[in-house]
Amino acid sequence: MQCKNHPDRRAEHFCSSCRIPLCADCAEETKQGEYYCFKCAMLVSVSAVGTRIRGKREKAADHKAKEKKKRTPFHYFVAVSSVMILVMWGVILFGGQEAPAGTADLANQPRVLLFMVDGALKRFAHYEGNRYPAQLTELIPKYLSLRQEDISLLDNVNYSRDPSLGYRLSLAKPKPSDMNIIISPKGVRYETLPGGGS
């Protein structure tokens, strides 16, 4: 086989890249046992330089990333603050005191509700200048703790302001077998209902 560049010479090597036949003068040995034509040898050489530059750049980027990973006081501040904020919100959302266990429903206990309202009226009068509210809903929530859905329970209580006594409080729907209870600031009075009483 003849050399591609010198048809009068015998080819001794093949270019490792483009596979053309080369004589001893045309073949460039870049590494041990690897021969290239002049054109491919130039390309390989330039490519090697590029690889070295890219390697250096990658090393520099790694170094920068490592430097970035170093924790500064600012990073500690941000981390500690974030944890504190999370803990605070955890306490705010889930950290309230639990109500005593076994809490029963007020709906079936109008007499308990009556005493509860009586206490609320007295607290209202004590803290609001010795006056009584026009309606029981004025007591909610500061003096009477009833949820929005429980406000209808107040229908079980008769309340009216009385010029001489202050107020009168009684059960709106007492059971026929029970005694009705009438509360005023002067005291508690019981009234036997017609057709019953205990």
Binding site: A99, F115, S145, V188
Partner: protein
């Protein structure tokens, strides 16, 4: 800017955090006082066969600004041997209901002008029966 933002968030969060913390402390205190009063009322009934206040008395009210010389406060202290904490914004209401169909009983309300419990309640209500049962509402 980031630091100022974080400090701002911390400051804004601190207010509800403090309120919850205070609510938890007051709620625990109200529950403890209620337990003491329940025990004391049951002991009183076992000894004297009557609650404080008894059937003929009107309700006893003790407010956060009540003076320790107040007759109601002194009755609770002397007859139940419980000194209810004054000046911590709690108000107490003790009432006897001789007409209750379930028999002799006393109802105690401990109220505060803010939320005491995580369920939104501002008070502790406990009813104590003559047979030693008691029920929270």
């Amino acid at each position: 800017m980031v630091v100022i933002a974080i400090i701002g968030i911390l400051a804004v969060t601190a207010v509800p955090f403090y309120q919850t913390y205070r609510q938890r402390a007051y709620g625990a205190q109200a529950t403890n006082v209620a337990k003491q009063l329940v025990d004391a009322e049951i002991m009183r009934y076992l000894e004297k066969n009557t609650f404080v206040p008894n059937e003929t008395d009107g309700p006893i009210d003790i407010y956060s600004d009540t003076d320790p010389s107040d007759p109601g406060f002194r009755r609770i202290r002397d007859e139940l041997n419980v000194t209810v904490p004054l000046g911590n914004r709690f108000s107490y209401h003790f009432s006897n209901d001789p007409g209750d169909p379930e028999g002799k009983c006393v109802t105690i309300v401990i109220a505060a002008p803010f939320k005491l419990f995580s369920n939104g309640r501002w008070d502790v209500i406990v009813k104590i029966f003559h047979d030693g049962r008691f029920m929270y509402y």
